[in-house]
Symmetry: C2
Subunit: 317 residues, 2 copies
């Protein structure tokens, strides 16, 4: 896979079975896989490490790349990368930036609609041959007029809001800071947001501060008819409590793309009709792959030519 | 069920197993069911017949109501009512008007998103326990940038367009007439619209003129990656051809809420992952039921007090 040209090399870091690849990156620089015969030669000197997907990059992994100066992530969230350790080692980190935002926002709206309107459940009903036998399927819920609370009004959250407006939803949000430029109601805590929302869409970054930000209290405040959609990271939600409340009928429904122990999904959810389950794929479309490849290429090229990085994470925030 | 008051009676006409009911209507007038002991007394003299859902009202049914002057439908489409015969008998007909439009538009967008983003299929994948076994689920398709063609730009079609705009879709339409007030491209035929669209959303009324308007040629023009969504009536689409093209991989996918022989659904579709099936329930939410009850009440009340009807069908169109 490595070429004989003089392009600087970037080492690819990935989980063994992470099968995504970015062919067009080869035209910009040398992406060297661990299967490549040149890998042992380049590994100690590589200045750039590309992290595919959510492959963990912790201290023990960083130790394998002693010369790394820049970690290029291909995901929007970088919770799989030990940012504190990168800061300590003076390593810069870039993310996918907004490459996935549109797809993420689309999928969040898609999951919310699917749970509310019961599309997947209705499809299951028809495929099981129940329509001629049971007659009318239970009513869905109208999207218009619903109060949708957005947890994290960043790129994705903002696009979710814009997409839901013409459906007649009322948008509110919580975020680290109130944003003066948006017309939506701001709640300083996720608990207050939940108490004033019919549905919550979780699309913030996972960090020490946001781990289990959706806990039992928040879900209880959302209430028996409340719906939660999570397209962020599994650990943003206390999954055990989510399952308990759903099974007990204490929560209206859930659309879940991310889980705490992927690819494991709590089996109790398989029985529920008010839940839509998705295998961490909100942003996986051919278009977003092209876009993230562009961002990755641009970051690697910028690094090697000493230009400003495009989507650098602020490690001192 | 009939009350002893002096309200004029309206006869309820429904299929035997049509289980919907409109309790609040009782406060406005006497809705008399066939199970009511007063039914045989009121049937010959009833001036209003309320048709529940899509219960057929043909010549033989109209004969049962010799005094009927006004037929109040509870659906947006009135293809189940013999309009020519009503015109001949000088019977006025009202529909649900726009009571269902928002829900219909929501569901159309929901089905399109579900097929494109593969939400139901991904849910099935997770519930079957395949995520840990097979790893990544196939990519979905991005909604943004798609050319969406709307067949019938009435109440529902217009609301579909407004909802899809913030996703970055390009909207075009075909309709009986070009509408000067809308910014979308107009195609005079559904065939031209299909040839210039990635997805078609069918939301026009069913009539002699629109029967099988979506035929083999239209579906072929839509193409191998094309997606069709039907929330209108089953007979708008040539279902046999739809099934053939889907099974043969000649069409990209389909989101179908209505079928030619409901509740029968072609079994071949049950095997397909690029199809979302729904039991004619696009508009069935508690909110739309409230709204249609209002419209129905208002029409009956207007009729009995000689006021203009709210959502009268033009039988001379």
């Amino acid at each position: 896979m490595a070429s004989g040209n003089n392009l600087p090399a970037a080492i690819i870091h990935r989980l063994p079975h992470f099968t995504l690849s970015f062919p067009s990156a080869k035209h910009i620089f040398n992406p060297i896989e661990s299967s490549d015969p040149l890998y042992p030669i380049h590994r100690p000197s590589a200045r750039v490490v590309i992290v595919l997907g959510t492959s963990p990059l912790k201290t023990e992994h960083l130790d394998q790349y002693p010369s790394v100066e820049c970690v290029v992530a291909t995901s929007a969230g970088v919770d799989h990368i030990d940012l504190a350790e990168c800061r300590r080692r003076n390593i810069r980190v870039t993310s996918a930036g907004s490459a996935f935002s549109e797809d993420g926002a689309d999928y969040a709206v898609g999951l919310l609609m699917d749970v509310l309107l019961r599309v997947s459940a209705a499809d299951r009903f028809v495929r099981a041959g129940l329509w001629p036998v049971k007659g009318h399927y239970p009513l869905g819920n109208k999207l218009g007029g619903k109060r949708v609370g957005i947890v994290g009004l960043g790129n994705i959250g903002t696009m979710v809001a814009k997409r839901l407006e013409p459906f007649g939803c009322t948008i509110a949000y919580t975020s680290r800071n109130k944003k003066s430029e948006v017309p939506y109601a701001f709640y300083p805590t996720v608990l207050e947001l939940a108490a004033n929302s019919d549905s919550l869409i979780v699309c913030c970054a996972l960090s020490d501060k946001t781990h289990h930000i959706i806990n039992r209290d928040v879900l209880t405040a959302l209430g028996k008819k409340g719906i939660i959609v999570n397209i962020g990271r599994g650990a943003l939600v206390d999954e055990k409590e989510l399952v308990k409340l759903l099974v007990g009928g204490e929560l209206g429904g859930a659309g879940v793309d991310v889980f705490e122990n992927e690819p494991e999904v709590p089996k109790e959810l398989f029985m529920l009709d008010n839940v839509v389950l998705s295998p961490h794929r909100a942003v996986l479309t051919p278009e977003s792959f092209d876009k993230v490849t562009e961002v990755m290429n641009a970051n690697v090229a910028a690094f090697f030519s000493n230009k400003p990085l495009l989507s650098e994470i602020n490690l001192y925030d």
